[in-house]
Amino acid sequence: MILLPAVDIRDGRAVRLRQGRFEEETVYADDPVQAARSFVEAGARFLHVVDLDGAREGEPVNLRHVQRISDELAVPVELGGGLRSIASIRRALAAGAVRVVLGTAAFTDPELLDEALTAFTSRILVGVDVRGGHVSVSGWTRETQVRGEDAIRRMQARGATRFVYTNVDRDGMLEGPDLEEVRRVSAAVRGRFLLSGGIGSLEDLIAVRDLRLLNLAGVISGKALYEGRFGVREGQAVLDARDP
């Protein structure tokens, strides 16, 4: 399991939102490369980058920063936020993202999902962001009537195998994930998934690790790392100690 520090970019800065609310923003670095660099220097092996402006605009806005992060740092970068066309996915990959997260588009444009899965196969992750039990889209401004696990099953029927599951209500709250929910998600996912939202401490990472979910490939953490609740290296060490 890998610990992926999250670098969310808004207006060219590294920020965190609370529960996906744009009006509740904390700025952690004026330059996202600086934030990313400090995570890599602290031992990160993968970065999860979110273009928050892109998520709202419906197309990538901060690719310039993604490119800088990818060029300058010796770890792979995945990108989500605003990727709603094949052209923008191509631009994201050209900017150096090694894989991309489709959220809104995967739900609202099934043909795009099909096309993207055909063209980019395992470079495509489907982001399932759940708020109040239902999938949330368009930069967390719209809720659908679809439950998270149902969405996962539906996407799998179309060929998706890699997911990023986020509990938006817990995101930025540092109160720990809902372990029962994580178990249910794991049971629904036939491929692999990353977990995001709510990690607040090493104990949370230990609790997730001890679920022993073989299809949980990694845990994304934002605020807890920025706030120094634990370091990347210690967090990764906890996840590496999965056995026995």
Binding site: G43, R45, D71, L73, A74, V75, P76, V98, T121, S122
Partner: protein, 216 residues
Amino acid sequence: MIAVIDYGMGNLRSVTKALEHVGADPVLTHDHADVRRADGIVLPGVGAMPRAMERVRGLQLDQLLRERVEAAVPLIGLCMGMQLLFESTTELGGAEGIGLLEGRVERLQAAKVPQIGWNEVSWRRESALTSGLPQPCAFYHANSFAPRPAHDRDVLGTADYEGEFVSVVERPPLYGLQSHPEKSGPDGLRLLKNFVCLVAAGRGPPRSDGSAQAAA
């Protein structure tokens, strides 16, 4: 100076940045004079090998790289750049490679390709290239194909993706990594640094089987 061969397949900035980080002075180039002056050569690559080979041949780099390797200049192929070192590939209906190493590049025998992610490489033996690296050592891979070297002695490291595949090859002064060391964190940078040290030493280590790869 280390020449990073730029034949128009993808962004090479992360490769040059990583080389700078470990103290090298990389020059992005496909100019023959530059490549001839270089003490070491990095052959990167992403995408499909047949297309890459067309460009390499179009720039007459295949002959040039063969000449430099025969002159004992250390050369490392990265990712698809490593595949180019082999004789042929089955990708896109098949194509020839540069043919500095015997063997064919074939699709990974796995349900889901490309593999995208970290994968542990186990070393078959000690090597100057892997000095200071743990056994096994995780590298970031992004590949659908991998070489099947004809000679087992060319295999330096293997990994598992629904079956064993060859991730690192070595026949000094030739080296190749199926992974992306420039995205493999401190261990990836260490490997690049080891290559830079081999370049600085002005020669590769002697071959284990004692035969002369190239006249010094």
